[in-house]
């Protein structure tokens, strides 16, 4: 069976290589049959890698431990749910998973556009196939998930052996979110290949106009959305599993996921400049290139062991391959740009410095500054060691100090941008748009200060958050009021109608609203509290308004783990609120322990309780309780961001004017009903403004 997986993987590489070279040959010879054959080969890769993935999953689900990868990352006691997720638990499997997701994207892109853009698609096919060849080379020759376990037999010859049981999945990955988080993140990483392929293809093929942007806009938004979900789920997993009370540690692997997300965000904004005004063509192409290269750089950083990371898959010798690939991409992108730079000449004119265009320029600058700061902090230990010979640490305080002011300025621009008009904003319009939001947000700041918001950044965040929310509501309100008056409908219906007429714009505002919620949640961190105490049965500890009474400690066991559990009753103002059961699970297969945090979560605060285990000093059980304000806003904010993105992906519904009255006639021609001229909403294609 493993032969089938290996064969499918090797065949996938050969077919991808064919798609690459046949595509190039087709472009140069202009033979349409060759081009079509290359594109079909590009689609076939998906089915071949699907076979390989299917075979590997078959080994996991049938507990066949003759494959080294399966033996390393699964065991018989592992629930089926996690056997599926064990596929991406290690280097080999996660790279195979990457290839499969990339091939799935490639399949859909090539299939959906098979009868469109005949001049562009052969180039797109070649670029995607080139990326696939790289990853499939790794899958086949560098990190092969189908390597079998072998041992010398009685006659000295090597033969395949199967272990009776595997080492099991890392306990940290045995959490429901781990079944969703990595695929989401990988869907983000691999998804950015599509806009990259279209940008490079448009440049190489000198494809006219902004067509490539129209084609890839949705693909970019999809990749960005997956990346967002992946990042948020990763943060939630860290919060729920690691038991340190936080959700973001600025670990290199976390940073690696953030870098392409930031440049992707910059692209989603700056692309509007090109669509509406024909500006920033060079910038947009390079933003897409940079986003893709950051996906590869992030993978290089985290898998090569260049930088220290708490993530298990970080240490390997695969880095050199990524360095080579990154160098090739950089050279290809630069040569393509240099050779075709005249094609990217834009109509860069700025009517006024107080305009939507300017706000996008600053938005891009700030996003890129944030991206640079994160990259710089991640790489600085390596740079310092290289220059002065001694390694330094760059921890969370550095990233917070550098990035918080940048993020707050970005939040400010999130509020300002939508209030500025394209081309030019008059002073009157500025006063009219800014007066209420600015005034009310300052009032909110004063109230916040009076209520105890004394931490500077938290207070600024509160003021700016109120400002952005008000500007967003104002945007919805103004538009909806006009529609409500025109269509004689209520305001809520008008908001729905307004949103559906320009889903991209109003979906974007919903995304902004979600980001504000995330900012509010992060600002709550300034007021975190924690108490650690030895707590025996019958003893209590206090944190904030809560009192925790220890009622019991017991042991639970199943085939997969043994769990030590604390039973705590939560009191507030003398009244019992609920029971919490923080646990520590020991996994015999791997010999590791994991923390299961117990949380009492509300929009205002999380009571987050960790059973730390028995103190090594005196053997008493230790409870670590945290009071984390506003954390829930981050998770809800993430959900709102996703909903906003999905809304922005919907096609517009446009109002069409019915110019003459509509008469409904009976079979004999007599008028039985008559409607006055009105605006009727109709769904029209995929047009976005």
């Amino acid at each position: 069976m493993d032969i089938l997986g290996s064969f499918a993987l090797l065949l996938a590489l050969i077919v991808a290589a064919y798609a690459f070279f046949a595509g190039i040959a087709g472009i140069f010879t202009r033979r349409s049959l060759l081009k079509k054959s290359a594109l079909n080969a590009g689609m076939a890769v998906f089915f071949l890698i699907t076979v390989a993935v299917g075979v590997l999953e078959f080994f996991f689900f049938t507990d066949n431990y003759s494959l080294a990868y399966v033996a390393e990352h699964s065991n018989r006691a592992l629930p089926a749910f996690y056997k599926f997720a064990a596929l991406w638990a290690g280097q080999e499997g996660s790279l195979l998973w990457w290839s499969w997701l990339l091939s799935a994207y490639a399949f859909f892109v090539l299939f959906l556009n098979r009868k469109k853009h005949p001049e562009l698609m052969p180039y797109v096919g070649v670029v995607i196939a080139g990326v696939q060849v790289f990853f499939l080379t790794l899958n086949n020759f560098v990190a092969n998930a189908f390597n079998v376990l072998a041992a010398p037999g009685a006659n000295g010859a090597m033969s395949v052996v199967a272990l009776s049981d595997g080492r099991g999945l890392t306990p940290l990955l045995q959490y429901p979110e781990m079944v969703i988080h990595p695929p989401m993140l990988y869907l983000g990483y691999t998804g950015f290949t599509i806009p990259f392929a279209f940008a490079l293809a448009a440049l190489l093929g000198r494809y006219p106009g902004e067509k490539w942007i129209h084609i890839t806009r949705r693909w970019t938004m999809i990749a960005w959305c997956f990346q967002t979900v992946g990042i948020i789920l990763g943060a939630h997993w860290a919060y729920s599993m690691l038991g340190w009370g936080g959700y973001w540690e600025w670990d290199p692997v976390e940073n690696a996921s953030l870098l392409p997300w930031i440049t992707g965000t910059a692209f989603l904004h700056s692309v509007m400049m090109q669509e509406k005004r024909g500006m920033m063509k060079i910038w947009n192409v390079w933003l897409v290139f940079t986003t893709f290269m950051l996906c590869i750089l992030g993978t290089l950083l985290t898998r090569s062991g260049i930088v220290n990371s708490v993530h298990a898959f970080a240490q390997s010798s695969i880095g050199g391959w990524f360095v080579g690939f990154l160098a090739i991409i950089l050279v290809v992108c630069f040569l393509a740009y240099w050779k075709n730079r005249d094609y990217l000449r834009g109509d860069n004119q700025l009517d006024s410095l107080v305009s939507r265009e300017s706000s996008f320029l600053f938005n891009n600058l700030i996003l890129l500054a944030a991206c640079f700061a994160v990259l710089w902090g991640t790489l600085f230990p390596v740079l310092s060691e290289w220059v002065v010979g001694s390694k330094v640490s760059v921890g969370a305080p550095f990233f917070n100090q550098v990035n918080v002011p940048i993020a707050l300025f970005l939040l400010f621009l999130t509020g300002v941008g939508p209030l500025l008009a394209w081309r030019k904003t008059s002073t009157d319009a500025l006063k009219r748009n800014f007066a209420w939001p600015a005034g009310l947000s300052l009032v909110a700041g004063v109230v916040g200060f009076a209520l105890g918001f004394r931490q500077f950044y938290a207070l600024v965040c509160l003021i700016l958050s109120v400002f952005v929310v008000l500007t967003i509501f104002l945007e919805f309100f103004r538009g909806a009021r006009v529609i409500a008056a025109r269509e004689s409908t209520n305001l809520l219906t008008a908001v729905g109608s307004l949103t559906m007429r320009n889903t991209r714009r109003y979906g974007g505002y919903v995304v902004h609203l979600g980001m504000v919620m995330i900012f509010i949640g992060i600002a709550g961190q300034a007021f975190n509290k924690d108490v650690r105490a030895e707590l025996n049965i019958g003893q209590t500890m206090k944190i904030g308004p809560y009192t925790l009474l220890c009622q019991n400690f017991d042991e639970i066991a199943n085939n997969n783990y043994q769990s030590s559990r604390a039973t705590l009753e939560v009191f507030r103002d003398g009244k019992s609120q609920m029971m919490l059961f923080p646990q520590r699970r020991f996994f015999p297969a791997s010999g590791e322990t994991e923390t299961i945090v117990a949380t009492r979560s509300s929009p205002l605060r999380d009571l987050y309780v960790v059973y730390a285990g028995r103190s090594p000093q005196d053997g008493h059980p230790v409870i670590h309780a945290y009071l984390n304000p506003l954390v829930k806003w981050i998770w809800f904010g993430g959900l709102v961001v996703v909903l906003g993105t999905l809304l922005a992906l919907l096609p517009n519904r446009r109002a069409a004017i019915v110019r003459s009255s509509v008469r409904e006639r009976a079979w004999d021609g007599t008028v039985v009903a008559e409607a006055a001229p009105a605006q009727v909403a109709v769904t029209r294609g995929a047009s976005h403004d």
Binding site: W244, N348, F372, V388, S393
Partner: protein, 172 residues
């Protein structure tokens, strides 16, 4: 010569640290405790098994989710020296002398490592200048282009201004 001297200092500090770790911690007043807590978050736990600050060492995946012996000895050393009235700088310098600059959670603000702090501020400033310059150039292009197109089409500047005003009103 310098290296030999540094080794000597390290040996003395290590002996001092061990002595501190094996004696009971001094009582700290509220201000001292806050200082000690803050210092505990500025130095890393040097056990080699985690990347946590000593003051927030929790050893995920370990048998006990709390400060390990190494972190405890570092915290105790800090407590004792804070109780003696030593300055933050002096305490951190001795940690650096013992373990190297990697013991600090953040890069030192001196020497080459100062660039870690300066560059992320400098780059946005340079970028800001760049954006300003680009915006200025694009803005300079505008009147000439507008005039040229107006002349070419024979449309008066008033009408162009009115159309622009309409565009602004339609697309807020």
């Amino acid at each position: 010569m310098i290296r030999r001297g540094a080794l000597g200092v390290c040996a003395i500090l290590a002996a001092f640290g061990f002595a501190c770790a094996s004696t009971p911690a001094r009582q700290l007043n509220e201000a001292q405790a806050a200082r000690a807590k803050s210092l505990g978050l500025k130095v890393k736990c040097m056990c080699g098994g985690c990347n946590d600050p000593a003051g927030a060492c929790f050893h995920s995946g370990g048998a006990f989710s709390g400060p390990c012996d190494m972190a405890l000895s570092e915290i105790k050393l800090i407590d004792d020296r804070v109780a003696k009235g030593e300055s933050d700088d002096a305490i951190l310098k001795d940690f650096v002398a013992q373990y190297g600059p990697t013991v600090l959670v953040d890069p030192p603000k001196a020497g080459f490592d100062l660039t870690a702090w300066i560059v992320p501020v400098l780059v946005p400033l340079v970028g800001l200048f760049g954006v300003w310059e680009v915006a200025r150039r694009w803005r300079q292009k505008h009147p000439a282009a507008a005039a040229a197109s107006a002349n070419a089409s024979g449309i008066s500047p008033e009408i162009i201004a009115r159309v622009q005003h309409d565009i602004e009103r339609d697309e807020p």
